[in-house]
Amino acid sequence: MKPPSGAQPLLELRGLRKSFGASEVVRGVDLAVVPRELVFVIGPSGSGKSTLLRMCNRLEEPSAGEIWFEGQNILAPGTDLNAVRRRIGMVFQSFNLYPHLNARDNVALALIHVLKQPREEAHARAVESLRKVGLGDRGEAKPAELSGGQQQRVAIARALALEPAIVLFDEPTSALDPELVGSVLAVLRELRSAGMTMMVVSHEMGFARGAADRVVFMESGRILADGPPETIFGAGAPQRIREFVASVEHR
Amino acid sequence: MEALISGFFNLQILTEAAPYLAQGLAMTLMLSLVAVPLGLAGGLALALASTSRSRLLRWSAVVYTDLFRAFPPLVLLLFVAFGLPFLGFKPPAFIAVAIAFLLNTSSYYGEILRAGIESVPGGQHEAARATGLGRWQSLRYVIVPQAVRNVVPDLISNTLEVVKLTSIASVVALPELLYTARQVQSVTYNASPVIAAGLIYLVLLWPLVRLLSRYERQAVSIR
């Protein structure tokens, strides 16, 4: 997999491995993401794609390999992990909004305590962030009062507010009712047009076809294919991948 | 270090004290074996009373429970132990202690069981009545079994408390474990018996404490 010529990778994974006890879940993955790219990672469950994603901000610690982000090896001892995590945003399958805070405070929390912004400024930015995901007027609402799609959009606003260099999405729509998925995908599309670098683990094939710059297919801890959507979804794609795509879209 | 061992873990004194401590332990166990069933029975009666249709019964149950949960057990014990003789009864120490314990523990068990009964969905009672079971039958075969199952951790926790509570009987000279330990201590001027008593309680109750820890974690997450 070669990055588009000339572009320097923002995030580069080299020979990444992860074992849980005796079972090796990620078996030597090389992957590079250049700025403004939307990389889509697909594959059967158990293929290690979520684990791979979670290693990128060290929520899971790799067993072997290197991760280079913005030119530095973030696995090196002495790395300021909190500083790195300010630059890498993460959106989770189960949203993980803070239930005891309203939407605005969910978004503003890191602004105040990580970026050390004054309260008013943080609140203003938070509301602006919410506006970008279409929820500017719901700042006062607690997570429990919002639908799943709205909660996920707040989660995205929360990740965006820190103005990260890249946002990681771990199956962002898998926990949503079908009719709410569209609203979240719309936000992803907008982010892409605005030039945000994104890595998305997901089953949303239609979205991948239309919006992804690159699609990566993983199985059993390895990358089997990595290229523009046509190479994965087109007629020339390997048998295994075509089977997988068909089985998912059949749902 | 030397002083610690001879002061707290003096083998010679402990060997001499062992038979007395054993008797004390037996008394502690006997007291527990009396207090727990009595308390449970009383508690069940209270819990059932609090579900009664009679407002008087419900109200009495609440007053009783609040009263004996507010009363420190040691105070209650002394009240019973010193007060009864003035009323003309001169019961042996064990009976006085048992009475005080009954009053105290039944209010705690009662509160736990009442909460347990309330936690059983109302639909259970309706379903039981719909199949023709009478009120008492529904309570006995459907509600109470579920109620108890729901509050097992709290029941265990309270039982643990009751066994620990037996130590206050030492204040009225009932020869349970703590009393015997203190007796030996005052005679030998050595604290080893008391330390040993503490260790015996620890060994006796540690499994319950571990069990309770596990339950507590589940309970908090379910809440």
Binding site: N57, L59, N82, R85, R86, I88, M90, F92, S94, N96, L97, Y98, L109, A110, H113, V114, A159, L162 | A3, L4, G7, F8, D66, L67, A70, F71, P72, P73, L74, V75, L78, F79, F82, F86, L87, L160, E161, S167, I168, V171, L178, R182, Q185, Y189, N190, A191, V194, I195, G198, L202, L205, W206, V209, R210, L212, S213, E216, R217, V220, S221
Partner: protein
Amino acid sequence: MQGLIDTFFNIAVMAQYLPKVLEGMVITVLLAIAVVLTGLALGFVLAVVRSAGLRVVNVLIVLFADVFRAVPPLVILITIYFALPTVGLRFTGFESAWIGLSLVLAAFAEEVIWAGILSVPRGQWEAARSSGLGFAQAMRLVILPQALRLTIAPLTSRAIVITKNTALASVVAVGEILYQAQAAYSFSYNPSPLTLGAIAYLVLFIPLVWLGRWVETRFAWKR
């Protein structure tokens, strides 16, 4: 009937010893507040330390919690006041009661708060740390607010139980209510002071029982 009143509710005797009992109430309240503050604080610190995940420290914390939940409070008080002097550590009655009851409350509080912390979904940690918050920040801003909501009810009821245990301090010569009442009883050979003491306790603790019940219902199903 008259005899009963003369014995247990003798106004003259009660009036005579009322000042002493009132003094005792002050001590009871002071001791209770001191114990609750230090006990909860220590339990809180231990629970937070435990979540940092250092294995050796955690084993010690669990050991501490198990010991102080398995051994009866009275045994602990007596050990501190009567046994420790034999190895050179001398504490006053009040200090012994304060230390002993605080340690007991801390042990229970640590377990409850720990269970609360555990029950906060892992995703909350991940979301907080993913946005660059440090361990302490994540704890303070995200985890603890959620954990503590679940623990308020059990903590309140534990704290109330411990405040009633202040009566045990009378055994180590602390001049709280029971001590004064007992002294008055032995001087006057009339149990009315004991009744007075009982009333004093009820005045202090029935509101606490109501508070506990209110807290229980208010926070019961809040998630």
